[in-house]
């Protein structure tokens, strides 16, 4: 914890920390720290309220990358035991269990999303369980942030920059993929499908690209009154 005094001063000085808002954004950006003295890359930015597509940052989701050899039964067993679920071996799928989400990134590479703060303990548990097994667990919670995009036009918005076919016939809930949105490398996961033909996606994006992606979404949503 940073000393409270500092935090409060920063919060008060908030306005002073505002970036010049990029042209075309509807964002307001206090840019101040939260009570914990921390700050996420999209802190203070507001997406379109309501409308056919909405998006918001999900700051500080706990994120671990897990590396290991899927053909090593010990590894699969040990990791699965800690996570309470078999880690997915089907490409571009994720499984959810007890607040954990385990995404397949590559054949020997998984991305684990957990509630804020749970990453540390989980990392420790995994390291203990995988002692002596060639593997790697790295905390990347602050490397990336997550933007949740949902609504009837969520798919249309993503297809403005993402080349993957997100049509329900080829991409649905439980599927994830590393891909791009124009210049930004993203990792997207479809969390569920709405009745109104829309869907909900979590987009994981690098800290330093988050603002670019956000501004793109803001600009892209304008034609639907976003």
């Amino acid at each position: 914890m940073a000393e409270p005094g500092v935090t409060q001063r920063l919060a008060a000085a908030g306005a002073a920390f505002t970036d010049p808002p990029a042209e075309g954004t509807v964002s307001t950006e206090p840019g101040a720290l939260d009570a914990a003295g921390t700050r996420s890359p999209l802190s203070g930015l507001l997406g379109p309220a309501g409308g056919p597509v909405t998006f918001e940052e999900r700051p500080f989701v706990g994120k671990l990358t897990l590396r290991g050899d899927p053909s090593n039964a010990d590894f699969m067993a040990a990791a699965g035991k800690v996570l309470g679920t078999d880690i997915p071996t089907d490409p571009c799928r994720f499984v959810e269990h007890d607040g954990f989400r385990v995404h397949w990134i590559g054949f020997d590479n998984w991305l684990i999303h957990v509630p804020e703060g749970a990453e540390g303990p989980l990392k420790t548990k995994l390291e203990a369980a995988l002692e002596g097994i060639h593997s790697a667990i790295v905390d990347v919670s602050d490397y990336y942030t997550v933007i949740r995009v949902q609504g009837a036009k969520a798919r249309r918005l993503l297809q403005k920059g993402c080349p993957i076919d997100l049509h329900p016939r080829t991409f649905g809930p439980g599927q994830c993929a590393g891909t791009v949105f124009h210049h930004a490398a993203i990792f997207l996961a479809q969390t569920d499908a709405d009745t109104d033909g829309g869907a909900s996606y979590d987009i994981q994006i690098r800290w330093s690209f988050a603002r670019y992606l956000w501004d793109y979404f803001v600009d892209g949503a304008r034609e639907w009154g976003g």
Binding site: P91, I105, F107, P163, A177, T179
Partner: protein, 119 residues
């Protein structure tokens, strides 16, 4: 823009990949014993064929994995993709690159089967 089949993720757009040049150029073990010519050939000389090319790609914005592919450099049609360490697939002499592997095999089977029974 090509579509490239990542052996793990399946068909994706080229913008998710990075080209890695000619495949199956193994780094010499005994670099110290090589002549300048041998070493130069290893770093610089390439087959650069007008036709069947064994090449490397990496799904850099996808799963991040390297793999090999066989592509015809005139038609830009892929014959096959395969994982690192897998056997280099043989390509029939008479494949002119103007058909996919499936089309080629369908055609050859057709000619093979006198009753003209397809599939």
């Amino acid at each position: 823009m090509l579509t490239i089949k990542c052996p793990w993720c399946g068909e994706r757009e080229q913008i998710e990949f990075t080209a890695g040049g000619e495949a199956h150029i193994a780094r010499p073990e005994n670099t110290a014993e090589l002549s300048d010519e041998e070493w130069g050939a290893y770093i610089y000389t390439r087959t650069n064929p007008k036709g069947v090319h064994y090449e490397r790609w990496v799904h850099s914005h996808g799963c991040g994995k390297w793999f090999n592919a066989v592509r015809h450099t005139v038609t830009d049609i892929f014959w096959d993709v395969y994982k690192i360490g897998e056997e280099k697939p043989a390509v029939p002499e008479d494949w002119d690159g103007a058909t996919t592997r499936a089309q080629y095999q369908a055609a050859t089977q057709k000619t093979a089967a006198p009753d003209g029974n397809e599939k």
